[in-house]
């Protein structure tokens, strides 16, 4: 990359890191609220750990695919970039479907968010994560569309790298959700 393009790339990546940190704090607030409201509630009734573990594996695979896509992206390998991002997309869409299915099934068993603060926290935390995932799925299409028509340009490398970072951040948030909501909830950790 030329120095001007490199500068723009550096700033974009650094800016994305900062945005990710701020979004992490946003989720952190939701986590704190969730942990506070979890106390005294038996979350076993709500969800199965196996299901959550399945979701985790799918999202982790999606993240791996995105990582590989990123490597090919920097090599300007259009074909493989598209293939691996597509894989990441499919897995991500599958995860999102499972995540929302989880919420629907709980709601259909009459555990809706308006019944207690704890349920509000559960739905809001999972739902916010789900909305982030859905938006990213949409955004991935927006960013990948040009690649069907042109070779990978510098601007695509920059945008898709920043996107990949954000996608992997969402994965890390999910790991935290898996730990704080599912693993710790099942253990009776919250008392």
């Amino acid at each position: 990359m030329s120095s001007g393009v490199q500068d723009t790339y550096d700033r974009a990546v650094f800016g994305t890191w900062l945005y990710i940190l701020s979004d992490f704090l946003f989720f952190g607030t939701l986590f704190a609220v969730y942990a506070f409201l979890q106390k005294g509630n038996d979350t076993n009734k709500l969800f199965s750990l196996k299901y959550a573990f399945g979701e985790t594996l799918i999202l982790l695979s999606s993240s791996t695919a995105a990582g590989l896509a990123g490597a090919y992206l920097h090599r300007k390998d259009r074909r493989n970039t598209l293939i691996y991002f597509f894989l990441a997309w499919i897995l991500g869409a599958g995860f999102a479907a499972l995540e929302f299915l989880n919420l629907f099934s709980i709601a259909s068993r009459n555990y809706t968010w308006d019944q207690s603060a704890f349920l509000s926290a559960y739905f809001t935390l999972i739902g916010t994560h789900g909305l982030h995932i859905v938006f990213c799925l949409f955004w991935m299409i927006v960013l990948l569309l040009p690649l069907f028509f042109t070779q990978i340009r510098d601007v695509d490398v920059r945008r898709l790298t920043c996107f990949r970072m954000f996608w992997q951040f969402l994965n890390i948030v999910w790991i935290f959700i898996f730990t704080i909501v599912y693993l710790m909830g099942v253990d009776g950790y919250y008392g």
Binding site: D23, L25, V33, F36, D114, A117, T124, R159
Partner: protein
């Protein structure tokens, strides 16, 4: 079709009608003026779509001044009410109206006057002081401004259509929940703050990347002007604190629209969650407001003392200490909510500890004057007023930091006096000093000094008359947010305060006159050198006003006060040959997204959900257009630079 919006939304009492008519009339008048002078094209091309940090900075300040007028009128109305509403009198404002006024006053002043002024000055000065051509993300900068403006506009619209919240600017649940406030007021507050908050967060990230990635060659961190250090600390505070606010308001939003139960004690929720989260944002917020002001004074005092800033390293460490400490004091906003003595004492002690680096800074400024040659320009007037007022307000703050004292004075007018003293004496006086100091840089002429000094005295006298009585009223048992009271002893003090606010109003009037007169007589005070004050840092090394690219060649520095040293030694700053400059292109997308955000907010307030979805789709479309459709840059060829030189 129109959600819960109906003709009743336009029904108000006669005072509100007057306000609405003046706002709409004033707005129409401005539109007529623009049309008559055929300024639409210039406005669109050079301002609304501009991604130039200098233009954006000026727009922030314009919005801040407009919101200041609104906030001041609110203040006059409140003081008038409290001057007469004693005993049997209900005053001239009903409770609902009065409660909306103080809520709108607080929200407008904090989120739009103070934040607008601060972000305006940072936009104007930061890139120039670090020797950069613009901020890291110019489009984002433009977008942030329009989100900010759209949030402010929501408050204005609530004057005409519907009502504003009556909960106080902090909008605590349970009062803010639909059970007690089902109407549109709280929603107006929520969306106004939420949208402008997103703008602030994006600005924070923007400035942080700018400082860390775009300093000119040679400008190591310990060579940066202290103003830049203060901005660095400020934007770290922004980007840590604002996500908390976004999340908190998001929870209030879902509680109101989707019946979640975060803050509803009847369902296991707890309003203390809101209080904690609000102040976890809220305390860093007040440091976000004051730190840039400290930075501005660190620039101004050396120039008008003809002397180097005392204790540069100390100043930097004090800023960093304030940054870290501001995250561990938030509970002092609610000592009275039963946190227990250990928790209260801890937070009280931490709050007092913050006074230490703050005091250090004051002494460093005073000792910058020591053995200097002090020129009593109007920025120095504002500085001296600041030191006196901020010390008083700060000491009041340290008193409030002791839970034992706070138990008596929490939510009293003593508290109101404290925070107005530090915000007006600190943020506002600092902003006025900075505005006067840097005005010639962006316009090419200085402001009329005499009018500036008269405005200062009006502000100082007005402030003292308006707020010193409030300290006493706090001791007399007066709480804040009262629309009437039954203690005759309080009335004389409220009358004095009412007189004070008119002095402040006169001060603002003089400031507008100052700008007006200065423009008319500008030929007498033209800045031909770019450096009218014989100042110290890089922004003065370029022309007044600077060209759109700031510097023809990026300067290279070898120490602090680089421009000052260059003047003394005769060695020029810049190196390197002239090259083509790549500049970011203007764009309408920021304005469109900002405008659609306003439409979205309005639709969400009134439950016009199809419109909300449509505006979201529109925003997405604008973003996609930005990604696909636009050329983002243009090139200024070096031949053109040679011609200008």
């Amino acid at each position: 079709m129109l959600g819960r919006l109906g003709l009743e939304a336009l029904k108000h009492d006669w005072i509100e009608y007057m306000a609405g008519v003046s706002i709409v009339g004033g707005g129409l008048f401005i539109l007529v003026i623009i049309t008559y002078f055929k300024l639409w094209k210039v406005l669109w091309k050079d301002w609304i779509t501009s991604v130039d940090h200098k233009k954006i900075g000026i727009m922030y300040i314009v919005v801040a001044f407009l919101m200041l007028i609104k906030g001041l009128i609110d203040a006059i109305m409140m003081r008038a009410q409290q001057a007469i509403a004693v005993g049997a009198s209900h005053g001239y404002l009903g409770e609902d109206h009065y409660q909306q006024i103080f809520t709108a006053h607080g929200a407008a002043m904090i989120f739009f006057v103070a934040m607008g002024a601060i972000f305006g000055i940072i936009n104007l000065i930061l890139p120039l002081q670090i020797g950069a051509r613009d901020v890291a993300f110019p489009f984002l900068n433009n977008l942030s401004f329009w989100l900010f403006a759209s949030g402010g506009f929501m408050i204005i619209v609530s004057l005409v259509i519907g009502v504003f919240a009556g909960t106080g600017w902090t909008c605590y649940p349970p009062l803010a929940l639909p059970k007690y406030n089902p109407g549109v007021g709280v929603d107006y507050w929520l969306w106004s703050v939420q949208i402008s908050g997103i703008g602030s967060l994006l600005s924070g990230i923007n400035f942080l990347v700018t400082i860390l990635k775009m300093r000119c060659p040679g400008m190591r961190l310990m060579r940066m002007p202290v103003f830049v250090w203060s901005v660095l600390a400020t934007v770290v505070l922004v980007f840590v604190a604002f996500p908390i606010l976004t999340a908190n308001l998001g929870l209030l939003f879902t509680d109101r629209l989707f019946s979640t139960r975060f803050f509803d004690a009847a369902y296991g929720g707890n309003p203390m969650i809101y209080v904690n989260l609000f102040w976890a944002w809220g305390h860093p917020e007040v440091y976000i407001l004051i730190l840039p002001t400290f930075g501005m004074f660190s620039e101004i005092v050396p120039v008008f003392s003809r002397k180097r800033l005392f204790g540069y390293a100390s100043m930097v460490w004090a800023i960093l200490a304030i940054l870290v400490l501001s995250f561990i004091v938030w509970l002092h906003h609610f000592f009275t909510m039963g946190g227990g003595p250990k928790v209260n004492a801890f937070f009280g002690i931490m709050t007092m500890v913050i006074a230490i680096p703050t005091g250090v800074k004051i002494f460093n400024w005073l000792f910058t004057m020591f053995r200097g040659k002090v020129q009593f320009s109007s920025p120095m007037h504002w500085f001296l007023g600041f030191v006196i007022l901020f010390t008083i307000g700060g000491v009041a703050g340290v008193m409030l930091a002791l839970p034992g004292i706070d138990f008596q004075l929490h939510n009293s007018l003593f508290l109101v006096a404290h925070f107005h003293t530090v915000i007006i004496g600190g943020v506002l006086f600092g902003f006025f000093a900075g505005f006067t100091f840097w005005f010639p840089k962006f316009t090419g002429f200085t402001l009329d000094e005499k009018l500036g000094k008269r405005a200062f005295w009006c502000w100082l006298i007005g402030f003292l008359l308006a707020f010193m009585p409030l300290y006493l009223l706090g001791f007399m048992g007066a709480t804040r947010r009262l629309n009437r009271y039954d203690v005759a002893d309080w009335q004389p003090l409220f009358i004095i305060a009412f007189i004070g606010v008119w002095f402040v109003f006169a001060g603002v009037g003089l400031q507008f006159l100052q700008i007006f007169r200065s423009v008319l007589t500008r030929k007498e005070r033209i800045d031909t050198t770019g450096d009218p004050w014989d100042a110290r840092n890089l922004e003065w090394s370029t022309t007044s006003p600077p060209p759109v690219y700031n510097f023809a060649t990026i300067p290279s520095v070898e120490g602090r006060d680089a421009f000052w040293e260059s003047k003394k030694t005769g060695k020029p700053l810049s190196q390197g040959p002239l090259e083509d400059i790549v500049m970011p292109k203007n764009t309408a997308c920021g304005f469109i997204i900002g405008f659609l955000s306003f439409v979205f907010s309005f639709a969400m307030v009134w439950y016009i959900f199809w419109l909300a979805i449509a505006s979201l789709v529109g925003i997405l479309a604008a973003v996609i257009y930005r990604v696909y459709g636009e050329e983002h840059e243009y090139v200024i060829p070096k031949e053109e630079l040679e011609k200008r030189l």
